[in-house]
């Protein structure tokens, strides 16, 4: 019974699963290097990420469950929740031991819980696809700031690449300090030394394109005027846009004049 520690990447986790099988040792926990608590009674096994081993686990899983189900594991991993690595291991063990696909075995805890976490991640990614607000800069870059609950930037990239194929854009995750930049050809991951936007995600006025404020204003006007006051339902409103998402939403900022 050991604690397996890994580097926090998905490949690292897959390597850890490989090692668990090779050593035939049940894990009590799978944690990131940084989260290892010294003084635990269980011995700690430090896993060094190995892409070949990771690939073997990944391919192996592909033979036991559908590709969609396998992708769901990766998405659940992006939730960055501490219990997920062990759940993924349990799922893998169940899958490897079974002759039929276990992906719909919702009566088993790890399958059902991973399905639920995957759904949460999906919801968050869908919200980001909805709530991202670009600001246009004077050099025609469309810039947006996000701070999602889960690390969803990797899975929403494709959506924005398809949709905004003819404009340069940059989406920056201020929680995880990295962003994606699309240069009309491809998407690349970038890190900024210094964040340009202020706390509500707004860029300084001097770098905005001259009509940017006008369109933000028009959007606020529109948002204000499609409301039907007679039907006001704040509870429902908040269920759809929880308060934590408001800070980067143009329509929820003080009215521009």
């Amino acid at each position: 019974m050991s604690v397996f520690s890994y580097d926090g990447t998905f490949e690292g986790l897959l390597t850890a699963i490989f090692e668990i099988y090779e050593r035939q040792e049940e894990p009590v926990a799978i944690v990131r290097y940084a989260d290892v608590q010294p003084g635990l009674f269980s011995p700690i096994i430090e896993v060094i990420t190995d892409l070949v081993k990771a690939e073997r686990v990944w391919v192996g899983l592909g033979k036991k469950v559908s590709h969609a189900a396998r992708t769901h594991l990766y998405k659940a991993f992006l939730a960055e929740q501490p219990r997920v690595p062990l759940l993924i291991y349990q799922y893998a063990r169940l899958a490897f031991a079974s002759t039929q696909s276990i992906e719909e075995n919702f009566a088993t805890d790890c399958v059902r819980e991973l399905a639920q976490i995957n759904k949460q991640v999906f919801r968050e990614s869908h919200r980001m696809e909805a709530f991202i607000r670009f600001q246009k800069t004077a050099d025609d870059l469309f810039y947006a700031t996000i701070a999602p609950d889960f690390n969803v930037l990797p899975i929403i990239s494709g959506h924005f690449e398809k949709r905004y194929a003819d404009q340069r854009w940059l989406i920056y995750d201020t929680k995880r300090h990295f962003g994606l930049y699309y240069d009309l050809e491809k998407v690349a991951q970038i890190c900024l030394d210094e964040e340009v936007a202020d706390r509500s995600g707004r860029l300084p006025a001097n770098i905005l394109e001259h009509q940017e404020t006008l369109y933000q204003q028009l959007w606020q006007t529109y948002f204000h005027h499609i409301n039907i006051p007679e039907r006001k339902n704040r509870k429902l409103h908040l269920r759809h846009i929880p308060l934590r998402y408001w800070k980067y939403l143009t329509e929820k900022q003080p009215r521009l004049s």
Binding site: A130, F142, R231, N233, R239, H240
Partner: protein
């Protein structure tokens, strides 16, 4: 000039907001030409109004000048309000600039009728065409078909739009005559029929030639106003189920009448009938996704839906002889009919029971609402309730029993209802 656009946007967004459809799903338009946008698969709600409705599209009228005088409509000729009209370029620019900033999925364009139907329709089509052809815009476009517009224009509209809609608004010809003297059913049903025929024909064409241009790939929809005229739920739901059948509609929307007009042709309403509207939507869902027939939900004995409980529960209570249903054996179709179990839970149940016998604990974890379901199911022959309760008792237990959450809104609306009655 910017102030002018602001002012127009205020007026023309205000005028368009009573059209409830804001769906942007079901399209198949890909961004293949390295242009702007796509409209594939599920829609996205980019924001929500304070009344909790989805904001997915830039929903505006081209103009609110109108030659018609429909009692329920804010833009009716006899109403003394500010009037405005966008130019074609203003609409195109707003759409593109909102879209590029990820505010919207596309455009929902409707209009008051100025001059005549064809003249108005032609303007709408021209805007869609310009977006598609000059700006390589592949986002979602929903065009309202103007009653009485010619078939040629409708055909052309379908080439650029993802969805077309003609609003029926009033659920019977009689009320239409009384409240919208310039409109008549044939005038509304004729374009609807034209769209429906065109959709069928296009589907055939695309079977033969993959490259044949798509016609309104997200189909057509319509809207009925609830509460502006005397029809009961039976009449409304019969009409919708007929529309789904005969015209292949994707959606029928229902809009609880907001008392905006003091026109004396209309009934006096204390408040918008939101609960009734909600129950009708629930019934509509049961018709489309749960395999219910309209007769089962509303009929001569029960012409109106129960406001206190949802229509599925109401059906189950009237048909207790179907229950209890054994979760581990019953067909999917029957599981779908159990109150407290939705499409997703039903699918999970059918999938998971292949691996093991399901217990109440499993059901709870899968997401079944046992509070309602427990009166109607057994797991391996066991039940969670001690004995068979009568219809009345179950009903009372669900509404007033432990953990029952009655929203303030329901209470308020029921009170109003009782006062009125």
């Amino acid at each position: 000039m910017n102030d002018k656009v602001q002012e127009k946007l205020k007026i023309l967004a205000d005028a368009a907001k009573y059209d409830v459809s804001c769906s942007s799903s079901g399209g198949k338009r890909k961004n293949q030409n390295k242009g702007l946008g796509n409209a594939e698969g599920m829609g996205i709600c980019h924001s929500y109004t304070e009344d909790g409705r989805c904001v997915s599209l830039l929903k505006i009228l081209l103009t609110n000048y109108c030659i018609f005088d429909c009692a329920y409509c804010v833009t009716r000729r006899s109403n003394d309000i500010k009037r405005a009209a966008f130019t074609i370029d203003e609409v195109v620019n707003l759409t593109l600039n909102f879209y590029r900033r990820n505010y919207i999925e596309g455009l929902f364009l409707s209009s008051g009728i100025f001059k005549d139907s064809d003249y108005t329709m032609e303007r709408l089509v021209r805007i869609a065409k310009k977006l598609r052809q000059e700006h390589k815009f592949n986002g979602y476009i929903h065009l309202k078909t103007i009653p009485g517009a010619s078939e040629d224009l409708i055909k052309e509209a379908g080439l650029y739009a993802d969805r077309l809609s003609v609003n029926i608004e009033l659920p019977s010809e009689l009320s239409l005559k009384a409240l919208a003297p310039e409109k008549n059913y044939p005038q509304i049903l004729q374009p609807m029929g034209a769209i429906s025929r065109e959709l069928v024909q296009n589907k055939e064409e695309r079977k033969l030639f993959k490259m044949a241009p798509a016609f309104a790939p997200a189909g057509q929809s319509t809207q009925l106003i609830v509460g502006a005229s005397a029809e009961n739920d039976q009449q409304i739901l019969h009409l919708s189920s007929q529309l789904y059948q005969d015209y292949n509609l994707k959606r029928v929307y229902y809009s609880g009448y907001v008392p905006i007009s003091d026109d004396n042709r209309l009934p006096v309403l204390a408040a918008t009938p939101v609960i009734r509207e909600n129950r009708i939507y629930q019934a509509d869902w049961l018709l489309r996704f749960y395999g219910f027939g309209v007769q089962e939900l509303v009929n001569d004995f029960y012409p109106n839906l129960d406001l206190e409980i949802d229509p599925k529960l109401a059906w189950a209570l009237r048909n207790l002889h179907f229950f209890p249903v054994e979760i581990n054996q019953a067909d999917y179709e029957l599981i779908l009919r159990i109150p407290g179990i939705g499409v997703k839970s039903a699918k999970k149940i059918v999938a998971a029971r292949r691996f093991t016998h399901l217990t109440f604990d499993h059901l709870h974890k899968i997401g079944v609402v046992l509070k309602r379901a427990k009166y109607f199911i057994t797991c391996r022959g066991q039940s969670l309730v001690q004995k068979d309760f009568s219809e009345e008792v179950i009903r009372r237990k669900i509404i007033f029993g432990e953990n029952s959450v009655r929203s303030a809104l329901v209470k308020q609306q029921l009170d109003l209802f009782q006062q009125a009655g």
